[in-house]
Symmetry: C2
Subunit: 370 residues, 2 copies
């Protein structure tokens, strides 16, 4: 489901957009005021099977970095997240829910600790930089906040490691999950993390210096020929099957991290200054009213979920599907939905009121889907 | 110039999207994480002539409202803008540059004063809500900030006034420019302002209650039949000819309001608490290095400006065009560019390095274009 996108400078091109165009990009989304390639003319299903078997190159420069540095940098980052970051080391990546004072989620970035007083927040689709800047200015913190010229390029799939070891040396094999290290590229030092928005493993190169975008794409592309590399993008089947959440689709400011099973990233027992801590403690004590679940549902491959579809038990709405697609592996439709507590057990029968007018039988599933 | 847009819940539909689809919308942009119709299958030029002569209905719900209310609301709004808002009255709309501590622009909304302690900031394309929330939380202000279910529908063009007088009563004729009043619609009270992102006059209805979106569109549409109404959108020819700026295209955080000739909205001599005041005073005293100008340039109708095009005098880059289009009225291409001080006088010869590889002769023009 796609319609035309009217380009303008406001929807920023990335250092890799020209390369993506040469590779045949046919559809985009927009994240952080920047273009995100979403199709190269193949079906989501073809891309899915390819991603599971080979390796793909993804322009995810739209994951913009909010750089926080200075004497108060660590304090500010901790203030924004209920996750205890005190034991993080330089070289660590941490998934950090960012909340306001109500516990509502403002963003869900990956935090990269570059030094004790320097961090990148690799942001999902909201202007996290403006929130951080507002907090710092309001509180009078000694900290500098900006968006550096850093653009992630993801190399995802089972062949990502051998490809990148060929290209940058075997030391990249030693990088642990959600850790980062450095590579040399064209006379520059570049950050590489074992991370990425897929379930198939891989790396993200945080390219520092947009002028190198075309060269980096080409280097990966050429080294990738031996590994059947293809251009790709975050894959909706892989994402939903894996229960990977999307800020703006599943997660909004109306939701707390607890509703997404992110308790392990909320160290509510640790006594740190954190904006959302009290509200989240109250919410945890009161018992959360809804939590994200998978929904398996029948019928033909479902259309694109561009607005929430009610999930009902009898006449009662118990949730709403916010992302959905046909799973060729499970041979059923799969969706993500917050589900009210009384109905969130796996196996619960539900009815999905799809945008195409059909009502489909379904059932609640744990995440990730089996 | 359009490619495919992949829909998802993250790119929010508006209360008018279904109506726009029935009216034949064929292209969108994305503003504030929401769909903005950008074409109904006619050319920008056809739309331009129609807008100048008749009346159009525009889904501009993406102009999201940041509601600021409470005892500290007026203080917070003043802190964010160098414009003196102390003499504003309920019923006033004010264009307010919002700046950070460097004087860099964070947004350029229209402020609607609803009461002494309640404001809407009708936001351009950045998460102004997160900036305001950060400032309020950092400073510990007594203020509530949220995004109400309010969605502007613009009625633009010379026949907007008679149409709306027919539909809502003759009192709307008495609404002054950048003032608002109230209308009754379907048992509800709705805000209507004489404003809009065109040079052809008109109104914006700030629909409170998204469930009324289809009904409001239909009511305007039916009343508009006698006035040759058409569905439309902010028109790029009209916008550039009129020198209307776009946040994200012309204006970024790198720029101060002074660079856009917005001195009249910066009351730097008034002693108010304002984040950007000192930086702007310094910038004004130092003399601004560049300011926005029009560029008239030769050759065939230019392509879409999706990334800046260098503007040169000899070998020296003196600016960059950030929006451009063919003007059928001036029979030349028109563009907007910040231009270095020594070259910003009207009539200065320049060369435009267009994305299509052509170098075109041009000249600097005052704004709006004659």
């Amino acid at each position: 489901m796609a319609d035309g996108l009217r380009f303008s400078r406001r929807l920023r091109r990335t250092p890799f957009t020209a390369s993506a165009e040469r590779a045949g990009v046919s559809e985009f989304s927009v994240v952080n005021h920047m273009l995100l390639p979403k199709s190269y003319g193949r079906s989501v299903e073809e891309d899915y099977w390819h991603l599971r078997e080979h390796v793909q190159i993804w322009d995810v420069a739209c994951q913009r970095q909010v750089q926080v540095q200075g004497p108060d940098a660590a304090w500010l980052v901790q203030w924004m997240t209920p996750r205890d970051i005190s034991r993080a080391k330089a070289g660590d990546c941490l998934y950090v829910p960012i909340t306001d004072e109500t516990g509502g989620m403002v963003n869900d970035p990956v935090l990269l600790k570059l030094a004790e007083d320097r961090f990148w927040l690799s942001a999902a689709d909201s202007d996290l930089l403006l929130f951080a800047k507002g907090l710092a200015l309001g509180r009078g913190l000694e900290v500098a906040i900006d968006e550096p010229d850093v653009s992630p390029l993801a190399i995802q799939g089972p062949k990502a490691e051998p490809l990148l070891a060929d290209l940058f040396g075997p030391h990249i094999r030693d990088i642990g999950f959600f850790k980062f290290d450095w590579i040399d590229f064209s006379g520059t030092r570049q950050l590489i993390a074992r991370s990425g928005y897929s379930m198939q493993g891989g790396f993200e190169i945080y390219l520092d210096g947009g002028q190198l975008g075309g060269d980096l794409w080409d280097a990966v592309w050429h080294a990738g020929q031996a590994f059947e590399i293809a251009p790709g993008c975050p894959n909706l089947i892989d994402r939903i099957e894996g229960g990977l959440l999307s800020y703006g689709s599943e997660i909004t400011r109306e939701n707390t991290p607890l509703e997404f099973g992110l308790e392990k990233f909320c160290n509510l027992d640790v006594d740190v200054d954190c904006l959302g801590r009290e509200a989240l403690q109250r919410a945890a004590n009161a018992g959360i009213p809804r939590q994200v679940r998978g929904i398996l549902f029948d019928g033909d491959p479902c259309p694109t979920c561009a607005e929430p579809w009610p999930v009902r038990v009898g006449a009662l709405q118990v949730g709403q599907i916010t992302s959905a697609i046909w799973s060729p592996r499970l041979k059923r439709n799969v969706g993500l939905s917050l589900i009210a507590r009384s109905f969130w057990d796996a196996g619960q029968s539900v009815a999905v009121h799809c945008i195409d007018g059909t009502t489909r039988n379904g059932e609640v599933s744990d995440l990730p889907f089996a």
